[in-house]
């Protein structure tokens, strides 16, 4: 099944170009840098879940010695609510109100004002001196409360079916006719599920350092999943021209989707502009938990109908997702992805975007898809049980394959979903015996993947080595994949290729690192740039040999004549050609900017074994295998790493992680002690099986791999817990008190 290739570097476990910097502590993350004259910014945040801001008096704060500037919503560009201004998937109407509360504070932690002072302590003290007159309003946190007829309405201008509502949008995908479909069904299972909001949980809190000169020339140093996104959003929200902003990508300490929007940059930019000093802002962990991310909590109902032989004929999903304070929950992922692994003739999948008084959600690894898959894959498990079928056999019988038309639109090209199911079925793991209170669950997942804008520049150095610059922050080792590809194409050792992430002033526009798009997109532009460089190298050799460029081939890092008829010449190596460059037409390099297309969806199937401690209600994952069609594993270690990391996040989501609210509508567990992400001793080794069905639309066969690994985890574990206990859970997390309750009750 695994593709055998003659590649020297693609598929090798090479050492990443930025690795030594990271194991020695040299790598500079956002909070690691300073600028001369730098001061510190701090944010005053709303204590209330919902309150009208009647007035803000900053005079006492401004008078405090050491305070250099104060900003409020007045200093942020206002985007009136009547017209949407989209930037990527974000609407600036909401962004300008999310970075700084405007008419109302909409969640505890919502920024109200920001202060810059000569020390962090003075800035924090000054925040306490700001007087805000709030009119406290009723609020709702949970979906059910936000949907009640008398629920407090967050935004008067949000209307659903003609009336002000907390439902900010509805999305559906449809295929066939579900009424007809369910009439044909012989077995129908319908269940409802709920999930809690969970945070992306990157270890590095948001941070930035910004200086703005008197002529508006602005330098931003920050961690994000996209320096161009930072530049554009900061420009929109401050009124500074994009061309005056240079956004430099610091190393990024995790993001998982949570660093695809800005929180601090517009505030720091305005503080820097007003004070004339560089401003540094770093969030505390508590601020991260209260005011960034998380992903949606949800409630959903899924109904699936099948024939007795296991053929699924109809499926209906209804997904309500919490958006937080502003519209924009990932309903597209829930609706589009949840039934996508299956070939079902009649499908209706509906999503509702619900606002309530909690922080605005941000993308989290395959946004929306894990929520949809959790419901669908659990219902499939029940269906398999009702039909007395093996759950993998049920999935195999209905698996999407080449030519299947998905409800969300595409007709699949050659895909590897069936291969993941077969690999699961044939694995040792699936056949291993289980003990008492142990159970095994399986589940699958699908993610769209993405292409989009990407830029690269490949330059040959005077000593014949290579510097590749791309425009995407490297969040999980993408530089290693790019080095492998460039070295492979040039036929040189990968250690001769340096890979850098350009800032917004030095490389062409590149879209976010997100959606499992970076290696897909950047390797296309790197490939095309390298091919241009190779073309130049062949031309140079041809000129030296005085033959036709077509008679020169590039092989093993050197130009060779294609055949003896082209002439008998000693090969010219990259280093030799680089040395001759000054007298042969000048520097050698090429860049490509492109809107990349051809990203095909990704599929995975997981097997989870759990053991339940029936005394304590603790579920432990004792064995886990993640199987995924990865297209082509350009750097297998980092592909495995994506799979393993996604699985551990899913285990947290399934078993422990959740936002807990107190009676005041405030998050009660805003730190790593009480928001319990999996630690090393919570997990087993996480096995991976990489199925490689190359993407036919990519030069190296690459498919995105980063999102799929989170999608099946919650359902695989749920299904395993069901097998271990004989009882089923319909909500997450399956934390010890809940498990005990089910065992005892």
């Amino acid at each position: 099944m695994n593709v055998v290739t003659n590649n020297k570097w693609i598929g090798q476990r090479t050492i990443r170009p930025d690795g030594v910097d990271k194991v020695t502590g040299r790598a500079a993350f956002a909070a690691d840098t300073t600028m001369p004259g730098m001061i510190w910014g701090k944010v005053l945040r709303s204590p209330h879940p919902h309150a009208r801001i009647k007035s803000i008096d900053t005079s006492k704060a401004e008078a405090l010695p050491g305070v250099k500037a104060v900003v409020t919503a007045k200093d942020i560009v206002d985007f009136p609510v009547d017209k949407s201004v989209m930037l990527g998937i974000q609407d600036m109407r909401w962004m300008c109100r999310n970075v700084m509360a405007r008419e109302k504070a909409l969640f505890p932690g919502h920024p109200i004002a920001a202060v810059a002072a000569t020390s962090e302590a003075i800035a924090a003290h000054a925040c306490e001196l700001i007087e805000v007159d709030y009119e406290v309003l009723p609020w709702s946190i949970e979906i059910d409360d936000a949907l009640k007829p008398d629920a407090p309405i967050l935004h008067d201008f949000v209307k659903f079916e003609g009336k002000p509502s907390n439902i900010a949008g509805r999305l559906e995908v449809k295929k066939g006719d579900i009424v007809k479909g369910f009439e044909e069904a012989e077995v129908v299972i319908e269940r409802s599920f709920a999930t809690r909001p969970v945070h992306q949980g990157y270890i590095e809190p948001h941070a930035c350092l910004i200086s703005v000169a008197a002529d508006n020339k602005t330098t931003i140093w920050s961690s994000s999943q996209g320096q161009f996104m930072v530049r554009a959003m900061t420009a929109h929200l401050t009124g500074i021209n994009q061309s005056d902003i240079r956004a430099i990508p610091a190393e990024i300490g995790g993001g998982f989707g949570g660093k695809t929007i800005v929180y601090l940059e517009p505030l720091a930019a305005m503080l820097a502009k007003k004070s004339g000093r560089p401003v540094k802002m770093v969030m505390t962990r508590e601020e991260v938990m209260r005011a960034t991310g998380p992903t949606s909590g949800s409630k959903s109902t899924v109904k699936i109908g099948a024939k007795r032989d296991g053929t699924i004929v109809a499926a209906h999903g209804i997904f309500y997702l919490q958006a937080g304070a502003f519209p924009g929950s990932p309903i597209r992922g829930a609706v589009g992805c949840s039934f996508a692994p299956y070939d079902i003739p009649h499908v209706l999948s509906e999503g509702f975007d619900v606002v309530s008084n909690r922080s605005k959600v941000a993308a989290y690894r395959a946004p929306g898809a894990p929520i949809g898959a959790y419901a669908v894959e659990c219902v499939l498990d029940e269906l398999a049980e009702a039909l007395k079928m093996d759950p993998l056999a049920l999935r195999l019988k209905n698996a999407a394959k080449e030519g299947t038309k998905a409800a969300h639109g595409p007709v699949y090209p050659r895909i590897g979903y069936v291969e993941t199911l077969e690999a699961a079925r044939d694995s040792d793991h699936y056949k291993a015996p289980l003990g008492k209170f142990q159970g095994r669950g399986v589940a699958s997942g699908y993610w769209f993947n993405a292409g989009g804008e990407s830029s690269a520049q490949v330059n040959i150095t005077e000593d014949g080595n290579v510097v590749v610059t791309t425009g995407h922050p490297d969040i999980g080792g993408s530089r290693a994949g790019i080095a492998n590809i460039c070295a492979e194409l040039l036929g040189i050792d990968y250690r001769r290729v340096s890979v850098l992430i350009g800032d917004t002033a030095t490389i062409g526009f590149s879209n976010l690192t997100g959606g499992s798009r970076v290696l897909f997109a950047s390797s296309i532009v790197v490939t095309q740039s390298t091919e241009k460089v190779i073309h130049t190298l062949r031309e140079r050799a041809a000129k030296i040999w005085d033959i036709d460029p077509e008679a020169v081939k590039w092989e093993n890092g050197a130009a060779h004549p294609v055949s003896p008829n082209a002439g008998q010449f000693e090969p010219l190596t990259l280093a030799e050609l680089a040395e001759k460059a000054p007298s042969m037409g000048g520097p050698i390099g090429a860049g490509v900017q492109l809107n990349t297309v051809g990203a095909e969806g990704g599929f995975g199937t997981h097997i989870a074994d759990v053991e339940v401690d029936v005394e304590l209600g603790i579920v432990r994952v004792i064995r886990y295998t993640a199987i995924q069609d990865v297209g082509r594993a350009v750097h297998p270690s980092y592909v495995e790493g994506q799979l393993q990391g996604g699985v551990s996040q899913g285990i947290g989501w399934a078993l422990n992680e959740e936002y807990i609210y107190n009676k005041q509508g405030k998050v009660d567990n805003p730190g790593f002690l009480d928001y319990r992400m999996p630690v090393c001793s919570d997990l087993p080794m996480i096995d991976t099986i990489m199925v490689e069905v190359p993407n036919p639309k990519h030069p190296q066969g690459v498919k995105g791999v980063g999102e799929v690994p989170l999608i099946p985890v919650m359902s695989a574990i749920s299904n395993a817990v069901h097998q271990a206990l004989g009882k089923r859970f319909y909500s997450l997390p399956m934390s010890p008190p809940k498990v005990l309750e089910v065992i005892e009750g």
Binding site: T24, G25, E251, G477, Q644, C680, S681, D682, L683
Partner: protein
């Protein structure tokens, strides 16, 4: 508030710095000392990104006051390699891709080194429990645990 003068040793070098009495060791390292290899993920002792050793004892530098370094020996990630020769753990982390974003890496390496000094032959379970104070959100810990165990095996072999 008057600053306090501290005399200490960091990564084998004599060092002096001024700090506020309320500053943490992490503040001092990342601030006046310019040693930003230790990271702040939580400031509450729950993530391990700020791990250092104090007289060979593994501590969270965010939970220790900067003045407490007076007269003691501090080791940070910046002192782990010898010149351009990486510590075997650093080398193994690189070779086995035991880091993705890299923000937890300094703390993981310091904690792993502290473990191997105490216990050169740890079981998988011992590695997992020892590193339970070091959060990593990217790797699922698999490659980290393997890297630590493989380094331990290599080091035992060289020691023989």
């Amino acid at each position: 508030m008057a600053k306090v003068h501290v005399t200490t040793s960091i990564n084998g070098e004599p060092m002096e710095y001024l700090c506020e009495p309320s500053d943490t060791m992490l503040d001092a390292l990342r601030g006046p000392l310019g040693l930003t290899g230790s990271k702040e993920g939580c400031a509450s002792g729950d993530c391990g990104a700020c791990s250092i050793t104090l007289d060979d004892r593994l501590v969270c530098s965010c939970l220790m006051l900067a003045v407490e370094a007076e007269g003691h020996e501090i080791r940070t990630i910046e002192g782990m390699a010898h010149g351009d020769k990486l510590h075997p753990l650093q080398q193994k982390f690189l070779e086995s891709a035991a880091l993705q974003c890299g923000i937890c890496t300094s703390g993981m390496l310091i904690a792993s080194d502290a473990l191997l000094r105490k216990n050169p032959n740890p079981s998988e379970e011992q590695v997992r429990f020892w590193l339970a104070g070091n959060l990593c959100r990217c790797t699922g810990y698999d490659k980290i645990v393997r890297a630590v165990m493989e380094t331990a095996a290599d080091m035992r072999e060289t020691a023989q």
